[in-house]
Amino acid sequence: MRRLTLRTVALGYLALILLGPLSVVFWRAFEKGFGPAWNAVTTPEALHAFQLTLVIAAIAVPANTIFGVLCALLIVRHPFPGKGLLNALVDLPLALSPVVVGFALFLLYGRTGWFGSWLSGHGIQVLFALPSMILATAFVSIPFVVREVVPVLREIGTDQEQAAETLGASQWQTFRRVTFPAIRWAVAYGVVLTTARSLGEYGAVSVVSGRLAGQTETATLYVSDRYENFDIVGAYAASVVLALMAIVVLLTMNLLRPKEGVH
């Protein structure tokens, strides 16, 4: 009896908080039929926005993955002074407002910023252009690979790596043949999380991009741009695409989620 009540409460809460919003996106997008929705997401601006989102992710995700694995190796295998600070900085993006992230980048690369003045003097534009958007996306999605790999590295211990060394393997060989196979599912899961965060980033890129339609709008910025221009169908149609991407990410997450037996 109690089990049933608990289940009802839990599922009821979830339906209220989760399902409602999700179904409404689809409803509003296709309210006027499939045609208008399709048109809305195939305008040049829309296509550019999706392309931009993917390009940014294609750069930020691999960079963060490599960083993540190296950082995890460092944290677990080679303690050094200042490790606490490193840990804090890596975890910070999880707890920090994206607007603050964007603003910090804005200050650094703005005309009067430490880098800004030098860069604009050399004709390199960071703010209101692709580079700052990549930096912003990388900032907010930095923690995920590290956090997934660290516990796994800790758990497997150094025995296998030491065995490989005694058998004559170099550091790179040991990494490639012993360490990496052991962490690859954790890395994969971390990559999925990083990608999800990159695709969905809004607040930070909102600040640094200048939101120039057709030029520096990501898919998420495009959605809010359509909404602000009273193009409801356009906004929801683009949202549907993003929601579908999110569902794919969701499924991948749950397939890869570390359970007993996955690795």
Partner: protein, 260 residues
């Protein structure tokens, strides 16, 4: 340190500095530029204070709701069996996977004008809470689930064999072991809520002193060129984020204090 690890350290530190540390340093630097009084003035401007108050209250409320709801949901997902459980479990991650702006839009569609369920709370504080509940849903659930999973059933059997009722077993044996996990999740949820932007910026209307949260206030300050105002408020949020991280670290140490 071997040359390999020396190189690794170099790469890691450089990347982290470039991406995270330097921008934050620039932020802190900016907030000191306007001097003590300037900083303090920006910090205590009525609009900033109102936004911060609203942000903290809403985030706290949401964190508490999640503490209970998240634990109940985690319990049902780990201990209960029903058809479609796998789907429900997967859906918990939706707020993480879905872009916040899309979440905001859907909140508006569902709980705003032309709402299919007749609830119109757009431009109210209720909307803030609803949006925040959505985006913070996964946190407590996902920190409690592994703890529940790992919990040795024998502890509950021992308590039962000693005469404890279901509630006594939960409150005296299970709950103390779950608490650190719950608190970690609550801390993460709180931090996320405090900084949340995309999902609240549409449905709340961002009415200053009424429905404007700190992140939106900062955005407004940036757009109107008021750098010192934005910097002051940003530093506050940064400090809160750091504080939350320290708290989570403390919870983690507390959780392992009695482990053999």
């Amino acid at each position: 340190m071997s040359p390999f690890s020396g190189l690794t350290l170099g790469i890691v530190v450089t990347y982290l500095s470039l991406i995270v540390a330097l921008p934050l340093a620039a932020l802190v630097w900016q907030s000191t530029k306007s001097g003590d009084t300037g900083f303090w003035q920006s910090l205590t401007s009525p609009e900033a204070v109102a936004a911060l108050k609203l942000t903290l209250l809403a985030s706290l409320a949401v964190a508490l709701v999640n503490a209970i709801a998240g634990t109940v949901i985690a319990w049902v997902l780990i201990r209960d069996e029903f058809p479609g459980k796998g789907v429900v479990n997967a859906l918990i991650d939706l707020p993480f996977a879905l872009p916040t702006i899309v979440a905001g839009l859907t909140m508006l569609a569902l709980y705003g004008p032309r709402s299919p369920v007749g609830i119109d709370v757009a431009y109210t504080r209720t909307a803030i809470v609803l949006a925040l509940l959505f985006v913070t849903l996964p946190f407590v659930v996902r920190t409690v689930q592994p703890v529940l999973q790992e919990l040795d059933r024998e502890l509950e059997e021992a308590a039962e064999s000693l005469g404890a009722s279901d509630w006594q077993t939960f409150s005296r044996v299970v709950f103390p072991n779950l608490l650190p996990g719950i608190l970690s999740g609550v801390a993460l949820a709180f931090a996320k809520a405090v900084g949340e932007f995309g999902s609240v910026v549409i449905i709340t209307g961002n009415i200053p002193f009424k429905t404007e949260v700190s992140s939106v206030y900062i955005f407004g300050q940036i757009q109107s060129g008021n750098t010192s105002g934005a910097a002051a408020a940003s530093v506050v949020l940064l400090a809160i984020s750091f504080g939350v991280l320290l708290l989570i670290g403390a919870f983690r140490r507390w959780a392992t204090r009695h482990h053999a």
